[in-house]
Assembly symmetry: C2
Homo-oligomer: 275 residues x 2
């Protein structure tokens, strides 16, 4: 593991690290914020999964999360959204290939060699973090934005018992029913019959989540039709899932929206992590 | 004036606008955050002047200032740091030409046609803002980062009575005595005998500031030797200038540092603006 940068930040440390990833077969970069409390022992962890086109950096510099994580004594992990590099396949479209890993393991060429973001975020990176930093991996929660909201919701439900709470900002809620989802699943997984159960609405209809859920989406989200919020809302209400779905008046899909509600999300997770 | 974007943000609106600048003879872009209170009438204004290489955007997305400005009901202005465009002269170095206006009016070719950032920030932009937005121009304060801290301090002192309070993050304090200053003043103004009184330490030795001053600089600032904090500290102490100079342990020059102390700065200005 290589330290790319470490900056003092809200009494703690915002680091950026890279490492050779076995899952993605390339170097991967991630951001990690450690609050001051990490000097005295392991702290709980909140994952932030980012959206299409993002690297580890966008949320790290734009979401204003460190302020609230420092207040709560919680670490923040900012993974990248895909494998990267000259050897890694890409596509001209912003929503396929590099920057668009969709938090799934591809099985179709040319993506199947590197695009293993599920394994990377669910297995490889947690192990690396637990082995190298003062993190209490028994206390984890997860959030994300857009494609990263899809990632957060599907991981929270599929990895039963891993996360104490899940939240999302403008998540892609029903990818098998949206152009943000069908296109990528077809490319990474091929025929629809082979698609994995990586759809938050379908997982909510099935197993649900054993903990609280918080969803914020703007009423003026320019990608609102692609998100399918109504499907997740229906599924949550139907199974009486513990949670809040909030439609925030006049907010859009930007990081200005994410930053505006970050305090609420970190406080929501802190309650679950310190319960 | 053209609206480039408007995003809901912390209950208010983060806008980006461009206009043909008379002072700079090119189109100029600025960011303006209006808190919710602006819907009911004019609100006080806090200027944020940015540092070398920055546009209007860096502080707007990285400093986390909107959160605290919304809490205090204060507008934020984020001007660009120089004229821009294919017709505007530039230099290969990051610290001269576009992105490095230094908040002064150039008199030397090739800079003298466009590089009029003093006039732009001190005269043209305030007039445009006052004419077009619900801003109470009788209640203004100013802050900035690095080169923008130099701009904030020199404007606060030179424009007597304009600003109720001034603060700065890692400001260039004594540019006539630093490679961040001498190089640019020589290029924009020519012979040293012609240099204007745009040096915070010299202005502090002279007129000082009629109001409170807050300076934050990191003890691990990688550009610490270029900032000359000791000269401003000496000048402030000598004239018994009302103010705080804080050396923040282990912080560097980055926006992680700026964001970490933004709450303090906005609260400091709010106290002066609502006095």
């Amino acid at each position: 593991m290589k330290t790319l940068s470490e900056n003092s930040c809200f009494g703690g440390m915002q680091g950026v690290y890279s490492h050779a990833s076995e899952a993605c077969k390339c170097d991967m970069t991630f951001g990690l914020f450690l609050p001051a409390e990490a000097a005295d022992g392991p702290v709980p962890v909140l994952w932030f999964l980012s959206g299409l086109t993002c690297t580890h950096e966008n949320a790290m510099v734009k979401a204003g999360a460190q302020c609230w994580a420092a207040e709560q004594g919680i670490a923040l992990v900012f993974p990248d959204t895909s494998p990267r590099g000259a050897d890694v396949p890409d596509d001209e479209a912003y929503d396929l290939g590099q920057g668009a890993g969709f938090y799934i393991d591809a099985t179709e060429a040319p993506w199947d060699r590197h695009f293993k973001m599920w394994t990377y975020v669910a297995e490889e990176l947690p192990k690396l973090l637990g082995d190298n930093f003062p993190l209490d991996m028994a206390r984890q929660s997860i959030t994300g934005h857009s494609m990263g909201g899809h990632g957060a919701l599907t991981m929270a439900m599929a990895l039963k018992g891993r996360f104490r709470s899940v939240s999302a900002f403008a998540p892609i809620c029903h990818p098998t029913n949206s152009d943000w989802g069908r296109k990528q699943f077809a490319a990474y997984w091929g025929d629809e019959a082979q698609w994995g159960p990586h759809d938050a609405t379908m997982l909510m209809q099935g197993m649900g989540f054993d903990g609280p859920v918080l969803i914020d989406t703007g009423t003026d989200d320019q990608f609102g039709d692609l998100l399918g919020t109504e499907h997740l809302a229906e599924a949550m209400a139907k199974r009486r899932q513990e949670g809040h779905i909030r439609l925030q008046k006049s907010y859009d899909h930007s990081y200005f929206f994410v930053a505006s509600f970050m305090e609420d999300h970190v406080a929501f997770h802190a309650e679950a992590l310190y319960r």
